[in-house]
């Protein structure tokens, strides 16, 4: 066992104070009863149909994301720092997006390399010079945090395109309140239930100017998509229509939904499909998921898309190393949250160092997501490393490398009982007239012993995240 930071137990094995009440519950509840609650959770998740589909497996294969009964608990003082840091970071990222599609000051002043941004595949020339409502590009952001063995939090990556998982944050909370209601009486756990309401609020705020009662819709690729459950869940919780591309059409730069009573105008689209598929007239012509003419309607200011097309250039892994610089540049503040030190393999020195230390590093594709296309050096075989080396040498610009962080662990129920497993944390930040940081988030857990990959597509599970309120 390495010397990992455990969220529940200190290095001396003692229970950390903020876990005291939960530990009491754990100690005083018979194993059989706990087992019973775990079964209950599993049955309930299946019945409610909280599933996700896995790419690469049979179509329609729905799998349950394993849910773990031991929560991640964040003490109030820690959260205050995280909250301020997240607000700062998302604010700066939105200013960055407005800048690179506008004046490009940060590029002209050489603080971020011009070609890195303008030649980035996530950069959308079509967005140049467009004034977006409220100056907000990333309305919904998910920032992935990890705690390393030094006890500090680090930002692992930013998600500004279509971050998913928030439905699990809400369903996990609902499940915990049902399974262990007594804990909610004993601990001041910050509520996250307001999320759908806050989301609807910022979406309505994003409506084109002059619309008093904006009609909001959630645009989904359809029920075969891995996050379909979440799309439906959010639409239902907000009380808005869940639409597919074929349900919408554009006439005179105005977006309409096809309804039983004829066309109905739509003003704000929370789109859960990628830029590439939004509009076959502008982006990928073969896309059947999008709506022809949607982008022109957007450009004409007749409809708002959230998040804005082109937001991805802000969360690209090659741009990530410059986020602290953005904070200094736009806000004249020092970054509150740390970045993980990052080697950019486009730089010869970094490339040389990385190739010499592949067995110790994590290497990521700059445009990769979901835990696909990455190498975790210490967990890989010689052959895997050599295969990856060849891929890096073919297109070094495509990769970054980071030291392998010893992600913190949290006790987790596995077959042999409670055992430490690595976790991360994705808080959600909503950006409207104000920036709302939801007090909680999605804690993902790598269920395989020693594994550092927490993505659900790679066999990860989830936990509820309890942010404590007050002076604790």
């Amino acid at each position: 066992m390495r010397n990992d930071y455990d969220e529940m137990y200190g290095r001396d094995g003692a229970v950390r104070p903020h876990y005291g009440a939960f530990d009491d519950w754990l100690q005083s509840t018979p194993a059989l009863q706990i087992e019973h609650k775990r079964r209950e959770a599993e049955i309930a998740f299946h019945r409610v149909g909280i599933t996700f589909s896995v790419y690469g497996e049979d179509a329609g294969n729905e799998r349950l994301i394993p849910f773990d009964l031991v929560p991640r608990i964040v003490p109030a003082a820690e959260w205050r720092v995280l909250e301020t840091g997240l607000r700062q970071r998302v604010h700066a990222l939105n200013l960055f997006l407005g800048d690179v599609y506008g004046e490009q000051r940060i590029l002209r002043e050489g603080r971020v390399p011009r070609d890195l941004v303008l030649n980035n595949s996530a950069y959308r020339n079509e967005m140049r010079g467009l004034a977006v409502p409220g100056g907000v590009y990333s309305h919904i952001s998910g920032i992935d945090l990890v705690r390393a063995d030094d006890g500090e939090y680090y930002v692992l990556e930013d998600n500004l395109r279509v971050p998913s998982g928030v439905s699990y944050m809400l369903e996990n909370r609902r499940m915990m309140a049902r399974l262990i209601p007594e804990m909610f009486a004993r601990l001041p756990i910050a509520p996250v239930e307001r999320y759908p309401d806050a989301l609807l609020e910022i979406l309505r705020e994003a409506a084109p100017a002059g619309i008093e009662q904006p009609v909001v819709a959630v645009l989904t690729p359809g029920s075969a998509n891995s996050a379909y459950y979440e799309h439906a869940f959010l639409a239902q919780q907000m009380g808005v229509e869940l639409v597919e591309g074929a349900d919408l059409f554009v006439r005179d730069d105005t977006v309409y939904a096809r309804t039983t009573r004829g066309p109905q105008r739509v003003h704000v689209i929370y789109r859960r499909i990628n830029d590439d598929y939004l509009d076959p007239n502008v982006f990928r012509p073969e896309s059947l998921l999008g709506v022809p003419g949607l982008f022109n309607a957007y450009r004409a200011g007749r409809v708002t898309l959230a998040n804005a097309p082109g937001s991805g250039v802000g969360d690209d892994k090659s741009v990530y190393p410059y986020v602290p610089e953005m904070i200094r540049f736009y806000l004249s503040e020092e970054p509150i949250l740390h970045n993980v030190p990052t080697y950019q393999l486009r730089r010869p020195d970094d490339l040389k160092y990385t190739l010499e230390h592949l067995a110790e590093l994590v290497v990521k594709e700059v445009h990769g997501a979901g835990g696909y296309g990455m190498l975790v050096g210490p967990a890989s075989s010689k052959a895997e490393i050599e295969e990856f080396r060849a891929r890096i040498l073919a297109t070094p610009d495509n990769y970054i490398a980071q030291p392998t962080l010893a992600l913190s662990t949290c006790p987790t129920f596995v077959e042999s009982g409670l055992a430490p497993r690595h976790i991360d944390l994705r808080p959600y930040i909503l950006c409207g007239r104000r920036i709302h940081v939801m007090p909680g988030g999605l804690t993902r857990v790598a269920l395989r012993e020693g594994s550092l990959v927490v993505n659900s597509s790679q066999g990860g599970g989830t936990k509820d995240t309890w942010v404590l309120e007050g002076g604790a």
Partner: protein
């Protein structure tokens, strides 16, 4: 409401109703199959199973696919066959898929109910059905359908979604009122005179029992069970919740609500069909021949189904927005 949503809801309840009625069809067929051979000359050739398939226009399909028609083949085809789009298995799957696509438009309990039905059905097998007894499966299907109906009535707001669920259920049920009558009624005339009465009684009462309509029958009729009284009960009696009249007048009412004062072709068709059942007399119907009357009703019903689809669900080419925009939803 989105056209696609209306379509999915319509088919979710239509498929549940179809599953239930398929179970009822199997029930009546099993009951008739109990009749001793003397009373059913076609028994040796599995005539009773052929009649069941005939009501569904499936005789040729099953014969081609399996090369034979017998009890087990028909049961497996109607209950479990994944390649039969109308099998109970396929109906539960289709209902659940439609509900999954429209989780937003229905209540959580409704989806959970359909999801539970599907998960149980998916784990079923012919061996298990045989071990548990086929009647238990039929009871289960009926109770799953009743559960969905109950959860819908008990939890879903009376908006457009509710109306489209109603349309799907009642158009399907109307269809079966006609089909089931056809099964029990066909070629009783061909029976030998000495066995005819018993056979007729047996078949008609089997039908009533499978429709859980025996009690209703007894409340309404003193006379013995006969073609005339059962046909009247199934077609023209408003107090029978599964009669053609009940179904078509419900459809008419729902469509009028959906039309909201507009004069739509589908309202007219439903009204005409409902009036036809309301003002018909059974002696006239039988006098002119039951068969042509049923065929005419079936043709009108299918035209109504097409018209409902065209009016509300055809989303492919809405050419122009109707301006000015009348409907503003918050």
């Amino acid at each position: 409401m989105l056209c696609r949503t209306a379509n999915d809801l319509y088919w979710a309840s239509r498929h549940m109703e179809r599953a239930e009625n398929t179970a009822r069809l199997i029930d009546v067929t099993l009951r008739i199959a109990l009749l001793p051979e003397r009373y059913d000359r076609g028994k040796a050739e599995a005539a009773v199973w052929c009649r069941a398939l005939d009501a569904l226009d499936l005789v040729d399909t099953v014969r081609q696919q399996y090369g034979r028609i017998d009890g087990e083949t028909v049961l497996r085809h109607l209950i479990l066959a994944a390649d039969n789009p109308s099998s109970i298995y396929s109906c539960l799957r289709a209902a659940r898929e439609a509900a999954r696509a429209q989780r937003v438009a229905i209540t959580g309990e409704m989806y959970e109910d359909l999801n539970t039905s599907w998960l149980d059905m998916r784990n079923n097998s012919w061996a298990r059905i045989q071990a548990d007894g086929i009647n238990n499966l039929l009871e289960w299907v009926k109770s799953r359908s009743a559960s969905f109906r109950g959860v819908t009535i008990g939890t879903l707001g009376r908006g457009e979604g509710y109306h489209f669920l109603q349309l799907g259920a009642f158009i399907e049920r109307a269809d079966w009122a006609i089909r089931l009558l056809d099964i029990a009624g066909s070629d009783t005339e061909a029976e030998a005179p000495d066995t005819q009465d018993a056979a007729v009684y047996f078949r008609w009462s089997a039908l009533l029992q499978s429709l859980s309509a025996f009690e209703t029958y007894r409340r309404l009729y003193r006379e013995t069970v006969s073609a005339a009284t059962v046909a009247e009960l199934m077609l023209l009696q408003e107090s029978n919740p599964r009669s053609l009249l009940t179904c078509t007048s419900t459809l008419h009412g729902v469509l009028r609500t959906l039309a909201g004062g507009q004069s739509l072709e589908c309202v007219r068709l439903a009204g005409a069909l409902s009036a036809q059942s309301r003002y018909a007399r059974i002696d006239e119907v039988l006098g002119n021949g039951l068969e042509p009357w049923l065929q005419d009703a079936m043709a009108r019903l299918s035209r109504l189904g097409e018209e409902i689809h065209r009016q509300f669900m055809l989303s492919t080419d809405i050419a122009q927005p109707t301006l000015p925009q009348l409907q503003v939803q918050p």
